[in-house]
């Protein structure tokens, strides 16, 4: 009884969002569905990058590289197992299980890449992480472009179209639940302490290197999830999808929304994705528009749109104020 309640509490966000996502999936035509999936992917990217750049106060600018690692791992698995039907399962269920395994594998390989990058570069304080992640992003791309098994520059096409609004939405729920529960826990406070003052955090018993690496690995894993989800919607994975421009796009989302605000990342990722979709013809001016947006923001609201505030903090306060006034 008590045990069932506990399990229910821990998975409640998933159960509650399932019917909503199912309805959305049913109601959206293919062209809307692809926009919804790309919004979801960008929300996952922005929220997960916020764990490193916003909560922990480190500066990573290579998120697209981890996305690529996850995307390619999952793509290899789903194409390799395309004709496999798991014993005792129907065709749909079998594909679902294989896709779930591919997503988990994508997250695992991306987190291993995160570990490999994080351990050497997070021992140092300062801007080293930015430089290393920037370099790593380029290395991954060049390696893929020169590996025959990964299809070199043309990539891998004909991936099964597993991702729909439900899968992508579940990815968003998982990411937001991860970030939010982290932020409200003692583990998350250790990350905030590192952001506020690394020397003091260390003196208060926080293993700063260990926690920075953990945050970085988690963030990389969810970038891998985003990559795996994206490529199974557009049924194609190429190295050109994961350039420095993509990484910067995510950084801009985090900064615009407010470093450290989950709500901000979600809102900024949604707005920017829709705007980019809308301004598709201006694609080559994307970086110009982003730079101008950032400059305007820095001048008018240096902490980002939401600062470090969250919607779940603001709503109760607003209700209290209204209650007090009435």
């Amino acid at each position: 009884m008590g045990r069932a309640r506990l399990v229910l509490r821990s998975v409640a966000p998933f159960l509650l969002s399932l019917p909503v996502l199912w309805l959305l999936q049913r109601a959206s035509p293919p062209d809307v569905s692809i926009v919804l999936v790309s919004i979801a992917v960008n929300v996952i990217l922005a929220v997960s990058l916020n764990v490193v750049n916003g909560f922990t106060g480190q500066f990573s600018i290579g998120h697209a590289a981890f996305m690529a690692v996850g995307a390619y791992t999952a793509a290899l698995l789903t194409t390799g197992l395309a004709d496999v039907q798991l014993l005792g399962l129907g065709e749909g269920a079998s594909d679902g299980v294989i896709f779930l395994l591919a997503l988990v594998a994508g997250m695992a390989s991306a987190s291993l890449a995160g570990l490999a990058v994080g351990i050497p570069s997070l021992r140092l304080r300062g801007d080293y992480l930015a430089i290393v992640t920037l370099g790593f992003g380029e290395i991954i791309r060049v390696v893929i472009e020169n590996t025959r098994a990964l299809g070199q520059a043309t990539g891998i096409s004909g991936l099964p179209a597993h991702t729909n609004v439900i899968w992508a939405g579940m990815g968003v729920v998982a990411t937001v639940v991860m970030a939010r529960r982290l932020l409200l826990s003692t583990q998350g406070r250790a990350l905030l302490a590192i952001r506020e003052d690394e020397v003091a955090a260390e003196a208060m018993g926080v293993d700063t290197v260990g926690w920075k690496v953990r945050a970085f690995v988690i963030s990389a894993a969810f970038a891998g999830l985003a990559g795996a989800l994206l490529v199974h919607k557009i049924q194609l994975v190429t190295p050109r999808m994961f350039t420095f421009v993509k990484s910067m796009e995510v950084v801009v989302m985090v900064v615009l929304g407010g470093m450290g605000s989950i709500t901000g990342s979600i809102v900024a990722a949604t707005v920017l994705t829709v705007a980019l979709e809308w301004l598709r013809g201006l694609d080559q001016y994307r970086m110009v528009i982003f730079s101008m947006l950032l400059i305007v923001l820095m001048l008018t609201r240096p902490t980002g749109i939401f600062g470090t505030r969250e919607i779940w903090e603001a709503v109760p306060r607003w209700l209290r104020r209204r209650g007090g006034a009435a």
Binding site: L6, R181, T186, Q187, R189, G205
Partner: protein, 272 residues
């Protein structure tokens, strides 16, 4: 009454060199539970260097640091903190954008057994851990008389309360030794006396050993049971306050010509 038992913090011949400069040479210290020892010396004498060598910010170039009998040389600060040495900083280093409550809660984290997974799954262990941390943090805020500031951002607290919050945070790590780097800097005379009373209360309540750096000679000589005097990185005197006060070497190094008259501190006394 004080100074009984094995030393909780011991330094033997601790030397810190930065290139050719010896900032601290052959520093010896044995701090026993319940003791309040003052560390004084003119500007640049090596007091903060000594603190940093003891708390792991620097790895000593030579010598040995022991915490509760365990060798602590070259350990990172969070490990030394786990061994039972907590500190405050000369220029207050709070987590400014977090509340007073969160500042203290972070210091309670060290003993936490719950990991990421339990935080994500909201397991009962995690709930119990968060409750324990919250209770502990509230208790230490109360000890330092800061309960009324619980939900305010650290940067919005008045200066004196920021200093007290730093001590609350250090206490929350569960130390055996508390190192205070100029805890009364920037306070007026009556605030200083009140703070030192508070520090003594805390020491007796948690049977701590306290090492305190202080610039105000009258203050430190009035409250410490033992005083160490540093000058140019060398310990030039060590003993009871009244002996140290009369030591000609100290008078020369610290007070210049020795014409300055020292009086014991009075409660609420005017600035000297």
């Amino acid at each position: 009454m004080s100074g009984a038992g094995e030393p909780v913090l011991e330094a033997r011949g601790v030397t810190m060199r930065f290139g050719g400069l010896t900032a601290l040479g052959g520093f010896d210290l044995a701090l026993r539970p319940g003791e309040l020892v003052g560390l004084i010396g003119p500007n640049g004498a090596g007091k903060t260097t000594a603190f940093n060598a003891l708390t792991g910010v620097y790895a000593p170039s030579e010598g040995e640091v022991r915490v509760c009998g365990q060798r602590a040389n070259g350990l990172r600060p969070h490990r030394i903190c786990a061994l039972g040495v907590a500190r405050t900083f000369q220029n207050v280093r709070l987590f400014k954008e977090l509340t007073a409550f969160d500042n203290v809660r972070i210091a309670c984290h060290a003993g936490s057994r719950s990991g990421f997974t339990s935080a994500w799954l909201l397991t009962p262990t995690h709930d119990a851990e968060e409750r324990r941390i919250a209770e502990r943090a509230d208790a230490f805020l109360a000890v330092m008389e800061l309960s009324h500031r619980r939900d305010e951002l650290a940067r919005n607290l008045p200066y004196g309360e920021q200093r007290r919050l730093e001590i609350a945070r250090a206490l929350a790590t569960g130390p055996r030794v508390l190192c205070l780097d100029e805890p009364a800097a920037g306070m007026n005379a009556s605030e200083k006396v009140a703070l030192l009373e508070l520090i003594r209360t805390v020491r007796d309540r948690f049977s701590l050993a306290i090492l305190v750096i202080e610039h105000d000679m009258r203050l430190v000589l009035g409250v410490s049971e033992r005083v160490l005097v540093l000058d140019h990185g060398v310990t030039i005197a060590h003993g009871r306050p009244e002996e140290v006060r009369r030591d000609p070497k100290v008078i020369e190094a610290y007070l210049g010509d020795g014409k300055l008259k020292l009086r014991p501190p009075r409660a609420g006394g005017g600035a000297g």
